[in-house]
């Protein structure tokens, strides 16, 4: 197998004495959609924040195409081809949708200096995600579904090799979710690798090639979606031990 696009080795994050993520290792192969699931507080977002440079890891290493990028700041990670979307959308509200994406075109891996060229690139990306009809609307005035798309369009306009999507379907209705998952599939077919965190297990199982389950900050299981679904440890983490008194409660570690 070729060198993975991202290698994570024993990544650990402590908040005070509490390990939010502990000794998590994995490798993301190129052009995969690599999913992460786990109960609330399992450490999915913390893991993402470390990879995207928003949080400094307490220990461990992150390598992008063999290059160590542990502790790099977000803006330099973007230049190395790692972009992210946020669970809670954060558009530049006083800018138009087009201008939002234009910023990404300017400062992403393409590093476009000319304004007109950046706008052109932004328009293409907007058309690609199906948001071109909103190009001149203020970002504050579009629906949540469109804001999620804008979040994705901005990340894409930085021309990433690896895209980190944090709950991109959160708050969307089933129809919008379906459309968003189709979009993720198209992004992958376009050559971008995706790491995908989602609460909705069905959504993850539908698009991912490979899934990792986190529980209490540690890797519980990983494998193909169908393997994960039948893994007894996973079922236990989500539903509790068969025969335990409170169904649905989490096992005591």
């Amino acid at each position: 197998m070729a060198t993975p696009i991202l290698e994570v080795e024993k990544l650990t994050k402590y908040f005070g004495g509490l390990a939010a993520v502990k000794d998590v290792s994995f490798a993301v192969p190129e052009q995969h959609i690599y999913g992460f699931i786990g109960p609330n507080g399992a450490g999915k977002t913390t893991l993402f924040n470390m990879i995207a440079g928003a949080l400094e890891p307490s220990a461990g290493h992150i390598r992008s195409r063999g290059k160590d990028v542990t502790g790099h700041r977000p803006f330099s990670l973007v230049k190395s081809g790692i972009a992210r979307t946020h669970q809670i959308v954060c558009p530049f509200r006083a800018m138009t949708v087009l201008e939002n994406v234009q910023v990404a075109a300017h400062f992403g891996r393409k590093n476009i200096t000319r304004t007109a060229a950046a706008r052109d690139h932004a328009r293409q990306v907007l058309a690609w995600v199906g948001l071109d009809h909103q190009a001149d609307t203020l970002a504050a005035n579009i629906s949540l579904g469109d804001q999620k798309r804008l979040e994705l369009a901005r990340a894409l306009a930085t021309d990433p090799e690896l895209l980190l999507c944090d709950e991109i379907c959160g708050g969307l209705n089933p129809k919008e979710t379906r459309a968003m998952l189709d979009l993720l599939e198209r992004i992958r077919q376009n050559g971008t690798t995706i790491m995908y965190v989602e609460h909705d297990v069905k959504a993850i199982m539908a698009v991912c090639d490979h899934v990792m389950v986190l529980n209490y900050g540690q890797k519980l299981a990983e494998g193909k979606p169908e393997e994960i679904q039948n893994d007894p440890a996973v079922i236990e983490a989500y539903l509790g031990k068969a025969g335990s008194q409170k169904k649905g409660s989490r096992p005591v570690a």
Binding site: F75, A94, H106, F107, A135
Partner: protein
Amino acid sequence: MTTAVFAPSRLEARARLVLPGLLLVVLALLPTAGLTPNLIRLLFITFVWVTASLGWNLLGGFTGQVSFGFAVFYGLGAYTAALMIDRGVNPYLSFLGAALIPALASFFIGLPTFRLRGPYFAIATIGVSEATRVIMNNLAITGGASGFRIVEHRPFRQVDHYYTALAMAALAVAVSFLIQHSKFGMGLRAIKQDEEAAADLGVNPYAYKLAIHAVAAALTGMAGGVFARYAAFIYPQGVFSFQTSVYILLMPVIGGIGTVWGAVLGGVVFGMVEEQLVANFPQIHLLLYGSLLILIILAEPDGLAGLLGKLFRRLRTPR
């Protein structure tokens, strides 16, 4: 439809140059129209204020970093020009120094203070500003608190000062527009709205803030230098005072924060009104500013420029 947007916008950009160009020509011809020296002086002061206002607007308006410390740059510019002219350096060269030294100082101020956000940054700039004033009050080579008299061994010609200040203000307008319509300007706008989101898209907020701080300091310092040469006497309680910082911040807020013409308008209104207020209401002129500030923030956060824009649109659209 999307491709058609480009052609008219370029035409529009040309048209946008016509009005400022015309304004510049009129202002350049004004001294030949037999203005009184007092009026020329008033216009000179106005150009100086406009430049400082535009300088502050780059950091405060474009980038959203509210600084109460621009008197540091204004004062350093004034003193740099004063010391250079005093040592026989060509005054126009000294204005370059008046831009460079404050720009350099802006890094020393920005490196620690830009680690702070929002109100904490604003408060820190007050501290830096006051500390600088105290140091300048006690510095021997500048004459300390008793001030510094600039002796220039050449005849005083008022129109020279007028044209210098006009050229400087025009430069500040040009720099502002160039930045606004550039990649750099887009990065600043992004930082103003959401620093984290900007960083996630590849903008380095810290570096960008330091860079625009330096440009803003250079323009403000140059304004201080040009003023110093005209005034021929400067002292720390004047150019380095907290009041100077407040004045520089007040202008873009009055005129319309974040827009180039708003900052210009604020400078013009301030330049024209300030002296009258000080002369006619020496006890309460600051009270009047304060009231004006509150009124504007409450009623029209986009300043006078925003108000004029609204009026204009209302007149254009027939009911």
